[in-house]
């Protein structure tokens, strides 16, 4: 087998092409970290380097992306004043105690979420573009395609630094049947994370399953043993399924092989996970009981998912996570805060005062949950004595800015945390119209991932965040 040589890949979306080709060529050599090789342009040893996802004080550095649907009511969202002397608006009042730990970023755009030549479908695009910066291919099924998302670019490079390269969570457990938004496959609307341009990473909506994946299943005293037994069993099966997958892949032609690529990537990830488990030793103790399932109250569901996300950071189980609170276009009702109408319906308020008030209250309801989460991270001390929030970069936002008119410029974005001292929070920053992807590029740098020169439509890095 000749060693394939690749140029340094500049665009994340090209990585999968080379990956796919690479996978086909490599065949049996599954122990090699494929994505990493493609991204770095040079073979890399498994495992993260010393500077990966680490602060200057040696503490873990984390990144998370939280998505809320349908944009924000503009008048109530934006603070007044700029820089450190800003005043929070009605929606962000719940963040007041954490004002020094957040930056409100204005002027970030996702031009690939606009209609362009693709016509309607702003909700699907808002969702699909949010972390990829790419334009989603308008298709109901054939050849779905957008780009690798920023979290996955980092996760694929962090590899073995933590037990899990990344976590993908959602509070959208029930999906609408039939078609989704205007000719776009539902895959665009229910996934934030994309492992390759054609492969979304399905998020987990069930808190019990998230918990068991992170901390093991069964009674607290049995979890370690259960995991070891399970992994021993899995090991005995992997050779067989791997051979099957490779044989099938030879049998299939063209794009059908992509399906087996996905499968092989999964097998490889499980092998690595087993290796990591052995290396990391005992499972972390979560200090929380196993959740029963999906709470019927949506607010409780969000709180529980935020708690699990916080736990995963506090126990250093992962340093990269995404949380889709609800897919864009969500028409959930909020009877718990006295709003029986659907969210999407309210967001198209057509300047009706009552609906505008309702949409602002929904925005604030989401913000309260987020503030609670940040409060928890702020209260938790990290290994370097700073707070976990200090050592994090948490993007909270939406790919739609004005839900009434479906705009994708000046997106509602909050960047929380100090990135281990590399960010300058406590400000309202107007960035004057640049790609949201530029923010991602800077975050990728801070995570210690080198060699990524572009993501999505990025044109550079943002100065002064």
């Amino acid at each position: 087998m000749k060693k394939p040589s690749f140029p340094v890949v500049a665009r994340a979306s090209d990585a999968a092409v080379t990956r796919r080709r690479f996978l086909r060529g490599v065949g049996a050599c599954l122990s090699l970290p494929l994505f990493e090789t493609a991204l770095r342009g040079a073979p890399a040893a498994a495992g993260g380097g010393p500077g990966l996802a680490t602060t200057s004080t040696g503490a873990p550095l984390r990144m998370a992306f939280v998505y809320f649907p349908n944009g924000a009511h503009q008048d109530n969202w934006w603070p007044t004043g700029e820089g450190a002397g800003f005043q929070l608006g009605r929606t962000m009042e719940p963040l007041a105690p954490l004002k020094g730990s957040i930056q409100v970023l204005g002027g970030l755009d996702h031009k690939n979420a606009t209609a362009g030549n693709d016509g309607a479908g702003d909700h699907a695009r808002a969702n699909a573009t949010f972390l990829t910066g790419e334009r989603a291919r308008k298709t109901d099924s054939t050849d779905i395609r957008v780009g690798i998302s920023v979290d996955q670019v980092v996760a694929q490079r962090l590899g073995d630094v933590t037990r899990f390269p990344s976590l993908e969570l959602s509070c959208d457990a029930v999906r609408k049947s039939g078609r989704c938004d205007s000719g776009y496959s539902c895959a665009y609307q229910y996934n934030l994370s994309w492992a390759s341009p054609g492969t979304p990473v399905a998020p987990e909506p069930n808190p019990r399953l998230v918990f068991e994946r992170l901390f093991g299943s069964g009674a607290p005293g049995e979890r370690q043993r259960n995991l070891e037994l399970r992994q021993r069993t899995q090991k005995s099966l992997l050779d067989f399924v791997l051979d099957d997958a490779k044989a099938l892949q030879r049998q299939l032609g063209g794009r059908d092989r992509d399906k087996l690529d996905e499968y092989l990537t999964g097998v490889r990830e499980i092998e690595r996970r087993i290796a990591r488990t052995e290396r990391f030793g005992a499972l972390p103790q979560p200090g929380m009981e196993t959740p029963v399932g999906i709470p019927s109250d949506y607010g409780e569901h969000m709180d529980l998912m935020y708690d699990l996300l916080a736990l995963s950071f506090e126990t250093d189980s992962t340093r990269v996570a995404t949380l889709l609170l609800a897919g864009d276009g969500s028409n959930k009702a909020y009877p718990q805060i006295g709003i029986p109408e659907g969210h999407h319906y309210c967001s198209h308020h057509r300047n009706d005062a009552d609906l505008m008030d309702k949409i602002a209250r929904i925005d604030r309801y989401y913000m309260e949950r987020f503030a609670r989460f940040l409060g928890r991270l702020e209260a938790k001390k990290d290994v370097d004595g700073r707070s976990v929030l200090h050592n994090s970069m948490i993007v909270y936002g939406c790919g739609n800015s004005d839900g009434n008119r479906h705009t994708h410029h000046n997106l509602p974005i909050v960047l929380a945390g100090a990135g281990g001292g590399t960010l300058n929070p406590g400000r309202h920053v107007r960035l004057g119209g640049q790609p949201m992807s530029n923010l991602f590029l800077g975050m990728i740098d801070r995570m210690g991932v080198n060699g990524v020169t572009r993501i999505g439509d990025s044109s550079g890095r943002i100065a002064g965040v």
């Binding site: 039939g178 990830e269 300047n351």
Partner: protein, 811 residues
């Protein structure tokens, strides 16, 4: 590296496909000039030519003749719009194309521009389909006899073209693969016995222990009530037996002084005697071994109340056995009788025969290997839905042997481990199709019979083929018996898979279980509360609505009724609660059944069912637009284009009403008067407004916000209707072809797991034609799809590809 992704070389692909049809293409271009272009000039170019591009479409700027022929996207849109009567638009005084002219145009598009060979059309690309959550659960049920709740354990599947069985979008992420491995293990653990023989075990629940005279049961004992509960067990062999009693005592949070003795007896002999006082939940477990002769054995528990403590004089005065409220309760959770304990009396565990038919396997390794190979070959054949080769059996045998060759491990454990590997294999998780090996070479080939069996079973049952389908496929006789098999499969209870999953998504009946509808707001202050005393759209009612839609569709399918009855009929499937909701008198009881509707009833057909009316509503009010879009998209098959991104502000329109709150219909009328909105809203609004007589829960209403409802309107194709009854009649009578075509397209999409493409036009039209000629019977659509080349054939695999599981030669 021999194989490269072709996705990024579209030019190359087009070139390759165009080569053999050059001659045809020249004819197509000539015929375009001769017979199609004049029609376009006559009917279309006023709006789509000469620099005018209405809707962004221009038909005289398509390029050279060869390019004109290749613009499949344009011609597919022209075909859809013209055959549905949407184009040219109905305008006073404007000439309409004659049926002959429409025929000329559509024939040219189908057979020349698309180059469809009616005898051998392109069957399309069906991606290897991963089992979705529902299919996985059903397949495990049929393969393992175990109900695995995949809807909780797996994340929701993505859908494409409106259905979640679309191969293209059923991706597999590392997380999902992790879950598949865990599921394989959990399922085998639960379903497959780990030993060959076990002690017989009988478990009786507390409720089975009864007081003489029927005064109480073992699951409800309390310290203030004297009682003896008992249950008999019959034993056949004289031997040793084990009796395990599992009880618990409990008190509420607040102290309660009640006390009693709890006595357990076997055949009258006291086995334990416990003082029970107030405490938190406390389990009580006792095991006894007994020598029994054949006959009837009695196990009993007695409660003997004692004087209470700490309750003062009032309680002292109360007689000991006076029944009264107490929180000191006991319950018998279970009593297990294990035995006979001697090994010669042991029996096969549950399900042993299902997974390990034949005689018990001994300890001899050679024998174990032989039997393991035999069992695993049969199991993998069913799980992979096609025969497996020797190498697969060897590799599975290896996994089994690694376990059962260890001291202390059983044969069953080993085979079970190999079964886990089967359930985690991509050959189980994906439906991979193959061509008939005997087929002559060509671009398209018939499916082999194993693939055909799976296409049938996943289409009609959402599950794996059964023994009969496998047997026919094995003998190569499935195709020859296709109609008889389809008939059998539709009658099988498993056809509920099609009913549930197809209606669940086509009519979005699934969504009624979760759609947020606020019953208090919708029904207003006068609403009657339900059994729980609340005004709410409760789960029972939601499921009832879903069951109604399923029963209705099932009736049309199984009784082979006309598909037009899906739109309009004089019957409905109701029980008392639904009938009351719909205002249909004289229906009693909980059972859902076919009811003939009174004359003039607006019900009958899916459009006026609770499911459709609710899932097309907003949480607090109806949405005529959503309802109109629903009918256009799912009944007539002519979905409107999506709304433009920047919808004009309705505040402007509101000014017309000078401060008065306009009715929804007035707002929509204002909307339609806007040029940008008119072309689509004049198609959807009349349909939705005709349904305004139904509130967001599907109940009838004569007014909305105290204003009378005006349901009259006109279809875009010109047919007028006075109300919803007439609307349904008009659709069924005047637009039957649209209804048939739409239904066929939806079912086709579901059956194949791919969207309808331009090269399917002939197939869809042919089925539509047969439906028009044959009274619309459901079987015509079903068989039409199953017998179509798209279902029966596949794009042949590239030449030179290895089908064996052997490794490829090393270069």
């Amino acid at each position: 590296m021999s194989r490269r992704s072709t996705r990024f070389r579209p030019a190359f692909i087009l070139g390759a496909l165009a080569l053999p049809v050059t001659a045809l293409a020249t004819d197509a271009a000539r015929n375009f000039r001769a017979s199609v272009e004049p029609l376009l000039a006559k009917y279309c170019l006023d709006c789509h030519g000469g620099g005018i591009r209405k809707g962004g479409v221009s038909l005289d700027e398509l390029g050279s003749d060869a390019e004109v022929v290749r613009r499949h996207d344009v011609w597919f849109a022209v075909l859809k719009n013209v055959r549905a009567g949407l184009m040219p638009p109905l305008e006073d005084g404007a000439a309409r194309p004659t049926p002959a002219e429409i025929d000329t145009l559509s024939r040219w598009i189908k057979y020349e521009a698309f180059g469809i060979d009616p005898l051998d059309p392109d069957p399309g690309r069906v991606a290897p389909r991963r089992l979705n959550r529902v299919e996985y659960r059903n397949t495990i049920r049929d393969l393992m006899g175990h109900d695995f709740n995949s809807e909780v354990e797996f994340p929701p599947d993505d859908s494409g073209n409106g259905f979640d069985n679309n191969g293209e979008v059923l991706t597999i992420s590392p997380l999902l693969l992790e879950k598949y491995l865990a599921a394989a293990e959990a399922i085998v653990e639960k379903a497959v016995p780990k030993v060959g023989r076990v002690v017989r075990e009988r478990v009786a629940s507390g409720r089975e222990f009864r007081a003489e005279g029927g005064g109480g049961t073992g699951d409800q004992l309390n310290a203030r009530r004297a009682m003896t509960v008992s249950r008999n067990f019959t034993v056949e062999q004289a031997d040793r037996y084990q009796v395990i009693m599992e009880l618990e005592t409990r008190g509420t949070f607040d102290f309660d002084g009640s006390r009693c003795r709890l006595i357990g007896r076997i055949d009258g002999e006291e086995k334990f005697n416990e003082l029970v006082v107030w405490s938190e939940r406390r389990p009580l477990r006792r095991e006894f071994e007994v020598e029994w002769q054949p006959g009837r054995k009695t196990i009993s528990f007695e409660v003997v109340p004692l004087p209470s403590v700490g309750e003062g004089a009032a309680a002292e005065a109360r007689p000991q056995s006076a029944p009264g409220p107490t929180s000191v309760t006991m319950r018998v959770n279970s009593v297990t009788v294990r035995g006979p304990l001697s090994e010669r009396h042991w029996i096969a565990p549950e399900n042993h025969g299902r997974f390990f038919p034949g005689p018990l396997v001994g300890a001899d390794l050679g024998e174990r290997d032989r039997r393991a190979a035999e069992l695993l070959r049969a199991f993998a054949t069913r799980a992979f839905r096609r025969p497996v080769d020797d190498s697969t059996v060897e590799r599975l045998g290896f996994i089994a042997r690694q376990v059962y060759a260890q001291p202390g491990r059983t044969f069953e454990e080993g085979v079970g481990r190999a079964m886990m590997a089967v359930l985690a294999s991509p050959r189980f998780l994906f439906r991979v199709e193959e061509s008939d090996p005997a087929a002559p070479s060509g671009p398209y080939a018939p499916l082999d019979e194993w693939s055909l069996a799976s296409r049938l079973s996943y289409f009609l049952w959402s599950s794996m083929p059964d023994e009969e389908l496998f047997a026919l496929a094995g003998r190569g006789e499935l195709r020859r018996n296709l109609r008889a098999q389809v008939d059998r499969m539709v009658r099988d209870p498993k056809a509920q898979g099609l009913v549930r999953n197809f209606t669940g998504q086509w009519l979005q009946a699934r969504d009624v279980e979760s759609i947020p509808i606020n019953a208090r707001v919708v029904l207003g202050p006068g609403a009657r509360p339900n059994r729980d005393g609340r005004v709410e759209f409760d789960g029972v009612f939601r499921r009832l609505m879903r069951a109604e839609t399923e029963a209705y569709f099932e009736h049309v399918l199984r009784e082979d009724r006309s598909l037009l009855e899906l739109v309009d009929s004089d019957y409905a499937f109701l029980n008392a609660r639904l009938a009351e909701h719909y205002g249909v008198p004289g229906v009693e009881g909980d059972e859902l059944r076919k009811v003939t509707l009174p004359p003039g009833s607006p019900r009958g057909g899916v459009i006026t069912q609770g499911t459709v009316l609710a899932v097309t509503s907003n949480p607090t009010r109806t949405s005529p637009v959503k309802r109109g879009v629903f009918i256009l998209d799912n009944i007539l098959g002519t979905p409107p284009p999506p709304a433009p991104p920047d919808v004009p502000d309705l505040e402007e329109a509101r000014k017309e009403f000078q401060g008065r709150e306009p009715k929804l219909s007035e707002m929509l009328a204002a909307h339609r008067s806007n040029k940008l909105c008119h072309s689509c809203h004049s198609r959807m609004d009349p349909l939705g407004l005709a349904l305004e007589n139904f509130n967001a829960l599907g109940g009838w209403r004569d007014t909305d916000a105290r204003q009378p409802i005006d349901p009259a309107g006109m279809l875009i194709t010109g047919e007028r209707f006075a109300d919803v009854r007439e609307l349904k009649r008009v659709i069924a009578r005047e637009r039957a072809a649209d209804v048939y075509r739409c239904f066929t397209e939806k079912l086709f999409t579901y059956a194949l797991g791919r969207g309808v493409e331009h090269f399917d036009s002939h197939t869809i039209e042919a089925i539509t034609r047969r439906l028009l000629d044959g009274g619309g019977k459901a079987s015509i659509a079903l068989l039409g799809i199953i017998e179509s080349p798209a279902f029966q054939r596949r794009r042949a695999a590239p030449a030179g590809q290895a089908l064996s599981m052997a490794p490829p030669p090393v270069p």
